[in-house]
Amino acid sequence: MKKISASSLNLRSIWFYIAVGAAFIIEAYLAFIVLPGTVSSMMDKRSEIEADEKEVADLTTVVGSIQKIDQAELETAVAKTTAAMPNEKKTSGIIYGMSKLAGDNGVVVNNLEFSPGLVSTRSGTIVSTEPVGQAVGSGVKQISATLTVSGELSKIVDFLVELRRSSQIIGVNRVEYALSASRANTGIISLMIYYQPPKNNAQVDPKSVPFMSEADKEIISDLPETDVFTVQQ
């Protein structure tokens, strides 16, 4: 009888310890295996949310700024900057614009030659091959031209002032003026004509939208309104 009772007691104790042991094992598994994994996954989610929050904040700012842009002002800026730095050589436009500017300032254009290649007004028509642009940097190319004009020195200076203020940026490298014995005034002006073929701006990162700064707007406002180097159709 005593032997049986002890055996039953031992069996119940074993079950108790197995149950408590199992509970501890499960708790340890939850505490040391499941919990760190869950916390780690939540931390990842939190980091992802933080990154998204930053991106949303940046996008909100960018989209807000884009929506505030004055479209008319932007279109004017595109027109003025493209006139100042055209997409192509526009040789016929240059001939037209030079003649107009010179005429407005009392100077007569005798000849305009582009090089390398040659486009001449001497014969009254555009002849020969298109000049080849040379790279300057930032996608800007230049072609050289020589302009021969007739007119008083003061008028030639007025013409150069107007040329400097004109819609397209044209550099003057050298000016030669001569007054002949027959009182004929001749000016030979070496020009540098700039243009900039367009880049592919189709893909723009929201982080690098090129908004115009106040300094940029100031440069644009100084550019003339009318483009004299475009042949009117």
Binding site: S5, L35, M42, L74, I169, G171, V175
Partner: protein, 182 residues
């Protein structure tokens, strides 16, 4: 004589073992309760994060769609940026040629005639002129002499071939360099 234990077997546990069992149950219970609280908190937080992440994803997608819808504005801004880069580059290389010539012409007295004039990008100026009177010539030379505080000036002035021409005017040529300090 035989001793017979008539008490139930379950009551036979020693006090020490009873204490140990109750301690084990209490510890397991406390750990279980703490873990339950932790997991419930984690579950709620996880749900909150899930909802927040989805809401952010939706907002981000909406903003990206708005951004894409404004692509023409962005392209135009890119054009302006590129053109301004080119304009700034070229403007930095420009020499104000009309300014040099105007400055020189302002120094020449009335009556003096410019026969030839060459101005180069480097600021090198060569001029051949004639003045009917010596005073006009001396006035030009005096005007060309720069003051120490002049920001733009003609320097390295060299005079060649001062002579009297057929019209009894003084003919001369001057070589100089125009310098401008910012």
């Amino acid at each position: 004589m035989i001793d017979i234990n008539l008490l139930p077997v379950r009551n036979v546990l020693t006090q020490k073992e009873k204490k140990l069992r109750s301690h084990l149950i209490i510890i397991a219970g406390i750990v279980g309760a703490v873990l339950s609280v932790v997991f419930v908190t984690l579950f709620i937080t996880n749900q909150y994060l899930f909802v927040k992440r989805n809401s952010l994803k939706t907002k981000k997608a909406d903003l990206q769609a708005t951004f894409a819808a404004n692509s023409s504005t962005i392209i135009n801004l890119g054009i302006v940026r590129d053109k301004l880069t080119g304009i700034k580059l070229v403007n930095g290389r420009q020499v104000d040629m009309p300014e040099i010539i105007s400055k020189l012409l302002n120094l020449i007295s009335i009556g003096t005639e410019v026969k030839t004039l060459q101005v180069e990008e480097s600021g090198k100026v060569d001029i051949v002129a004639s003045s009917p009177k010596i005073e006009q010539f001396t006035e030009l030379i005096s005007n060309l002499k720069a003051k120490p505080d002049d920001k733009d000036k003609f320097a390295n002035i060299i005079m060649n071939g001062l002579r009297e021409d057929r019209n009894r005017s003084l003919a001369y040529s001057l070589n100089m360099v125009y310098r401008k300090t910012k």
